[in-house]
Subunit: 409 residues, 2 copies
Amino acid sequence: MTIIVQKFGGSSLSTTEKIIRIAQKIKKRLTGKNRLAIIVSAMGDTTDHLVDLASQVGNPERGPEMDLLLSTGEMVSASLMAMALQKIGVPSRTFTGREAGIITDATHTKARIRFLKTSRIKETMEKGAVAVVTGFQGVTEDDRITTLGRGGSDLSAVALAKSLHADACEIYTDVPGIFTADPRLEPESRLIPLISYEEALEMASTGATVIQARAVEFGQKHRVPILVKSTFQEGEGTMITEKTKKRTKSLEEPLISAVTGTDQEAKLSIFGVPDRPGIAARIFTAVAAKKINVDMIIQNVSKEGKTDLSFTVPSEDLKNTRQITAKIAREIGAEGIAVDSDIAKISIIGIGMQSHFGVAAKMFSALSQAGINIEMISTSEIKISCVICKKEHRKAVRSLHKAFGLGKT
Amino acid sequence: MTIIVQKFGGSSLSTTEKIIRIAQKIKKRLTGKNRLAIIVSAMGDTTDHLVDLASQVGNPERGPEMDLLLSTGEMVSASLMAMALQKIGVPSRTFTGREAGIITDATHTKARIRFLKTSRIKETMEKGAVAVVTGFQGVTEDDRITTLGRGGSDLSAVALAKSLHADACEIYTDVPGIFTADPRLEPESRLIPLISYEEALEMASTGATVIQARAVEFGQKHRVPILVKSTFQEGEGTMITEKTKKRTKSLEEPLISAVTGTDQEAKLSIFGVPDRPGIAARIFTAVAAKKINVDMIIQNVSKEGKTDLSFTVPSEDLKNTRQITAKIAREIGAEGIAVDSDIAKISIIGIGMQSHFGVAAKMFSALSQAGINIEMISTSEIKISCVICKKEHRKAVRSLHKAFGLGKT
């Protein structure tokens, strides 16, 4: 039995015609010893529509009601996919997150997978039927529906691939794979055929929305190679796998692999923070308690016993973060807070940069030559990120793509 | 603790504004010892939309996939209702059919309730929170989602009222109650304040769509009084209860209570059926095996060892029934079959008619005077139905409503 896990994203499932086309693709793949588990996202922009309905009735907490609501989108597409398969003679069975045995913690709308009990899916596949699984969702041990956060269907796929000891984990999307830069911003960008988990993770975390960061992280931890490719276009796609397998083609490998950018973050600043031990911990503990991921953090040099603190969070978490921050700012006697959502974060990523000097300098001078001001900087072993003004987003991507020689040759 | 079960239909929930208004109604009702369980249908025409999606992928089967698909509509409205309640400070919790403990058989899309385990709902209500339950759905003992057939949310409400030993079971809809005739067809029609289960059941079975027939049947069997009233209009509504409580107002009670009609049935005829024992049984056993309800049946007097057989089924079952019938007609050596979906069924209903002669004659002559031809007739203790041509539907309702003196006085 060759077990193949395939995940189809919302844009690939936006119409019933597309669902029928995918069913035909699945049928073609179901030859010999191949057995398929299919993970589906919600059709098109269904999830956004559901979030909108929730906000119309007042969108309260991110509780179990929100998860019950959101989980329906994948149930619809899974049902339709199973029906489309049955229609063309392919035996299939739907599995909700619960039926698939995806057990999570109770952090509603951002639940983490605790363990998987996939025996029912295995039984179905052993009988030769296609298991069609709702992505993005699980269930608590207390038996309430949870969802895995934006892009969570990717995580469902990688986690199922691991649990099923799958021979392949394929993420199908509306682009041919992972590119050296977002092709909508940089026409010169190239497909990356092979990339390490580390780089893919940094890319996903810094704005490349092709695959969810947590899915890559899970793949890295459990050594699940992930193939990202286009649903309807031919092509080899991008294989995300271990670092050691990478870089065999040329000694002249580029310093960096890709440029990413996002304008979906916002910056918060707290001014006049008393410079005492424990203040930063207090702020970020309160933010973390709301399951909000803080990205970049900068603290100015202290002056007269006071300092300024800036950090970025996803735009969708801005409202919550602002409330928490304002409250703590009052409590600690800070002078005030400010919010700036008119920013973009631009990053360069590459394992190659670990052993090279001057990468950061090259990045800053490229941005400078393009007349772009840098507001914040953060670095890791394989990544450098800069916060800039939102309107410079595209220009920054193109400048860096060119400066690091990532363009088509 | 006074337990009140309220069910809101799809037209009452068609927009988020309406959901917010209903949440406010619920809050007002939640005084003193009152504890509420709210059963919701899918928003507006959601279910029709889902059925349409299913037919686009080409699967007309009534399997578990269809039920997973259909069940999502009520999940959406239940989530939104619970959120709307929480928004105005009313504690609430959603229950899917599964969480509500509604256990059914495995007849997908037309499942029958086997038993209820409502301890979790009770716990929620005892804590003072509103239980918001998805109508229309349950789960098999094998843990797959089922649905209870068209209008099944009414059944969910009555069954939960029984299981919770509710003090009231209230069905809220877009009309003020049950009328002597469909007000859209007969402007002279009146609201019926009190009606017996038997009559309500016959009315529901013969075209009055205010409440689902199976819900009334369940109410009758388990003695659950059911109040049907308008969601947004003031008014007393119609109480459906035991026969003995009825008819206290006047000795001059009308012979019949209401006129009903439907054009959602179709007629099948099998010609030249060999007149042998067991032939009819064979046909109707095959139809029943597909869970199709045959309504009226007529067999002509046998002539030269052959007979003709006609019967009616719901229009939605016509395609299936035609296939089955055609197959059996060949097997038994019948001469042929014919289908007529251009029909309406018109009925008069009333416990009063049991003890009166001449009701049938009065009905036939009223139709005759209106120039309407009768194609089929069937009678029960408290009902007489006639099949007529579809285009005479409205005229027939008005003629009978007048002939039996049901109009406003």
